[in-house]
Symmetry: C2
Subunit: 340 residues, 2 copies
């Protein structure tokens, strides 16, 4: 293992001191151009690569920020991450990703690992399991920026970036009503996550506003997956109070719902189906899935912007904001009752 070039090696070659080298390399103003050029040239010649660890240890800044998401496999989160990276790269911040896989245990580990790695800040979207959020407290205590997005928790007094999920539930329901459906069911998760509750409340409000009854059996609490979608749809369609439309907790669940409906020959839009998230595949399944777009790019951009604001303040948590974005209906075949 040949040992790496350090600023000492450069200093020795040039008969200057390490501080000169350090300053020359980091663009310190009071350095003569000749010295700077000599240093830079020698650095290249010796194939020097800075040890960020040492620099970070000294300065206390790693310029790395950690992002904790349930999973990168959901297009929604992948897209947010992409936009965070994009919004941050000009400021020299790098993103490292930690997946919780919807488990609190992993999430706790994530916070720990990222903090040990001395990240300059953390952005997170909670796992489905997460109820207690005390593992995030340490980040705030260290006075490092913490931003919660999409799946948030009000117990943490930190900035948040969310979609108006009440409205998401409301417009999904209203869209179905406008399309001519009347007996609308909802397949969602049992987990007590704010966004899912909000959507449910939006659903209830839309029903009420349209003078439609709220039928308890029409709300199925289970998981969110293709399998859960099949299960939920099966249960609903076997019930004595069959719905004529189903809102699925996310697009994956919607795929399961559609599968089941096709099997029992009630292919959408005969029974209307709408999901949440606007996953990449949603436009390509048959029938095309209507869904609620959650504007991942805006969320990502807002996260980046808010982080930069926080990191540049003495106290990151002063002037804390809660940004709420508006969801949009994406109309496709699965709710197009008129086409029948």
């Amino acid at each position: 293992m040949k040992k790496k070039t350090t600023i000492y090696d450069i200093a020795k070659e040039l008969n200057v001191t390490v501080s000169t080298v350090s300053r020359a390399l980091s663009g310190f103003p009071a350095i003569s151009d000749t010295t700077r050029k000599a240093v830079v040239d020698m650095a290249r010649k010796l194939n020097y690569s800075p040890n960020k660890l040492a620099s970070a240890l000294k300065s206390g800044k790693t310029h790395i920020i950690g992002v904790i998401v349930p999973s990168v496999q959901a297009h929604f989160f992948a897209s947010i991450i992409h936009c965070i990276e994009d919004g941050l790269k000009d400021s020299g911040y790098r993103v490292i990703i930690y997946q919780s896989n919807e488990s609190v245990e992993n999430e706790i580990n994530g916070v720990k690992t990222l903090l040990e790695a001395q990240v300059d800040g953390i952005m997170a979207s909670l796992s489905l399991e997460t109820q207690d959020v005390s593992h995030f407290a340490e980040i705030v205590k260290q006075n490092k920026p913490l931003i919660l997005f999409d799946r948030v928790n009000a117990d943490l007094k930190v900035p948040t970036i969310t979609l108006d999920d009440f409205r998401a539930g409301y417009i999904a329901t209203q869209h179905l009503i406008d399309s001519g459906y009347r007996k609308i069911a909802f397949v969602t998760t049992v987990h007590q996550i704010k966004i899912f509750n909000d959507r449910l409340e939006g659903y209830k409000a839309a029903l009420a506003d349209n003078g439609l009854p709220l039928i308890e059996e029409h709300i199925i609490f289970g998981g969110l997956s293709i399998k859960d979608g099949r299960f939920g749809a099966g249960k609903l369609m076997r019930g004595r109070n069959k719905p004529d439309a189903i809102i699925a907790g996310d697009d994956f669940t919607a795929v399961g719902v559609i599968k089941k409906l096709k099997e029992i020959d009630e292919t959408p839009p005969e029974i209307g189906v709408i999901g949440f998230a606007n996953e990449a595949f949603s436009a390509y399944i048959t029938p095309n899935l209507s869904t609620i777009d959650q504007h991942a790019p805006q969320i990502g951009k807002a996260c980046a912007k808010m982080f930069l604001k926080m990191i540049n303040q003495q106290n990151p948590y002063s002037g804390m904001e809660h940004i709420v974005l508006d969801p949009t209906v994406v109309e496709r075949e699965s709710t197009n009752k008129k086409a029948l």
Copy 2:
């Protein structure tokens, strides 16, 4: 910014030295149980969190490994990363992800950033643009493990984990022939990436072995995306030598091909279509897309295993292996000519 607890704080409280604390915390054997317990308790009490940076700076090991992929949005790569994490977590290695977004420039930056972050090793799958791979040489020079997977390059003398892409092209073609198609076209990328060339060679070989002519206009060199798929299919179907089946460079491209075929009323399996990758959506589009499964989980697991082997050797590059996995045909509706 309240300052963090260090081992010095623990040492002071307990009237021992930092070395004792360090040893107690890192499970050094020659420490009395009472001391160890006292240290551990005090660490908890003071809410101590180790500074991995300092430890890494001293020991030269960060226990972080960098993974460079074109994009995490492709299910194939997301799945590989997941399995790498899984295979590595018991050994205490963490994974950080860097996306090249198919650009060499980003890829070069990725290597630089990861090296500066002092990762213990790098795994990478090349961007479509990458021809010259000299930016990876520095990793090898530092004697750190470098593993290439899927999109590899023979210029780098490093271990690789790939699919038998010649065979992938061959079995895709053979499957179409077996299904009754005879005039088989191929929509692929212009980029000179080994795996795509290999698939093309496999395609040619399968045609030859079955006594079918190779028609130059049947090979479309473009990009890989839904848009490129539409374009490629359009070009093929307008040609004077219309194919009766199309092999698409990946599943996204296949989606585009299918879209175009539907528009001109030649919906598969009338014209057969097969993709590569077995993306999550492939089973849900209509018609369901036949595809070549590339066994991402095995690739990920193999990467993890190989890394552990390399890191535990004096010279990581001794006994270098090239692991080649076998692809599998996933038969679905889009090639089911018999169903017509």
